[in-house]
Amino acid sequence: MTATTAPLSTAVTIPTPWSVRLMPYMLLAPAVLVTLFIVFFPMMQAVFTSLYDLVLWKPNASRFVGFGNYAKLFADPVFWMALGNTAIWIGLTVPLQMGLGLLTALLLNREFPWRGLARALIIIPWALPSVVIALMWRWIYDPNTGVLNDILLYLSVVQSAVPWLADPRLALYAIIATLTWQGFPFFAVMILAGLQGIPKSHYEAASIDGASAWRQFVHITLPGIAPVLATAGLLRVIWVANSMDVIFVMTGGGPGYATHTLPLYAFVRARQNLDFGYGTTIAVTFTILLGAIVAVYLARTMREVER
């Protein structure tokens, strides 16, 4: 295996010296060592911890329980509820973000005078800290003084103030709306970049052939941006599944368990009860479930690296 490409194509094959062969590893060493230390080591520790009954404030009572925590998990109704919520959470948030993002991108791809300004302003939700977003929307959703209820009451859409985040049937959907707002700019800019990569001549040819706007969209636009939609969609599924900070600040998982998703359940369990053994078990299980989606994404990306 040749380690480096020869600088001149006519170069005679001289065995590459060790110092040159080792060079890439030396260059990589700092990054690899740091990540081994702060990511892989803690991760192994997590897998290890999940086999123990470990409550942080009584470390001496820690004991090995094997797969006991996992058995407990599958019998835990909150786990199944959180799993269901996670499915709704991902299943609604990502398509909504993508749909709104697609619409935005199609509009921004047209010619109009303030296009640059509009594009800059639309990405504001993306730049805001999630804790600010969560608090901001709590204020908007507030049942007594929130502006959303004021507007809806004024327009007579609702007859009485709706407790958006306190009603167990509504809370999850209210947070999904917030996350849709936060995430659609990401899709918009990704899809916009994809749209700009479609040659104009395709549309010109299609309109000469008499294709309607809808047929042009289905046969030229959609195939053109399909790879972007797939990559951005997968990336977003992983990101949305993992993100729990907005939920944590908005409802803390409540009312009851109505807005518990799996990562949030793991975090709350470990944080409030200091039940690190069980909390880590939930986190590991969640990671394994997410692993399937991650594998698809990795396969796609690595295929590209090969090129």
Partner: protein, 277 residues
């Protein structure tokens, strides 16, 4: 093909875009209005929409009565530290990935991609236990390390694509002229990659500045970044929305301004990979 009239353009493009821009900006604009309304007025008549009812009262209280400036400093130290650590280890790694073909290259690249996908909750619990043992809980250093779990893999990937875009012939020419590999990296590749390094650094800064869960779990007492501090502005008995809004506006400002400043270049870098596919 007849050109669409201006009126039609306004109805089918400008108006819908305006609606989406309003949708994107309204919540934050509402927050700004809330922060400008003094608390007494906020409780009596609600958020003041007209400039007549505005005052900087909440901001003055924020700076006088809370330790918000100190919190900003904590955030600044952590974000800058993360940028330095992330870029320092990522630059050479990116150079190795884009210039050498070596055994294990694909596996190592996969490793960095994989780390980015890890649920933060899987890392946060063991990191808490480990940092408590090491005695770096609630320190700047601890939070810099925690933020680096996100920053390093991101920086490696971004920089690999930036370095990859610089023709190999340039560093080869420098090496023929007598430069060593490392000198070629420093004198030729680094200056050319600088725009990419800067936008990657800015993105790391924004992410670290906005980070909340690590800050809450691994810091919080001695070291309290703005994201955690904003939440503590919620009063003890009732929520002080005016003060909270002022904290949110100030806390969000640095990252938002940076983002707007570099958005074009940044998005170019972020979308590159996705669009090629």
């Amino acid at each position: 093909m007849n050109k669409p009239s201006t009126l039609r353009r306004i109805l089918t493009t400008d108006l819908p875009v305006l609606l989406i821009v309003l949708f994107a900006m309204a919540p934050f604009a509402w927050m700004v209005l809330t922060s400008l309304t003094p608390t007494a007025a906020l409780n009596a008549t609600g958020v003041s929409v007209s400039p007549a009812g505005w005052s900087l009262d909440n901001y003055v209280r924020l700076l006088r009565q809370t330790s918000f400036l100190g919190n900003m400093l904590d955030s600044l130290i952590i974000a800058c530290g993360t940028v330095v650590l992330g870029l320092a280890v990522a630059v050479t790694a990116a150079y190795a990935f884009s210039r050498f073909r070596f055994a294990g290259r694909k596996l190592l690249m996969l490793q960095f991609l994989l780390i980015n996908m890890f649920p933060i909750v899987l890392l946060i619990l063991p990191l808490f236990v480990l940092m408590r043992k090491a005695g770096i809980l609630d320190t700047h250093f601890g939070l810099i390390l925690a933020n680096a779990t996100v920053a390093i893999p991101f920086a490696v990937w971004m920089l690999t694509s930036y370095v990859g875009a610089i023709p190999k012939s340039l560093d080869e020419a420098a090496m023929i002229d007598g430069c060593s590999r490392l000198t070629a990296l420093r004198r030729v590749v680094l200056p050319l990659t600088m725009p990419g390094i800067i936008s990657t650094g800015i993105y790391i800064f924004i992410t670290a500045w906005n980070e909340y869960l690590y800050a809450l779990t691994l810091g919080g007492k001695n070291v309290r970044p703005v994201t955690v501090a904003i939440q503590t502005l919620i009063g003890e008995y009732q929520i002080e929305w005016g003060l909270l809004a002022a904290g949110a506006v100030v806390g969000a400002m640095p990252a938002t301004l940076l983002f707007l400043l570099v958005q074009r270049r940044l998005i170019g870098g972020l979308t590159q990979g996705a669009v090629k596919g």
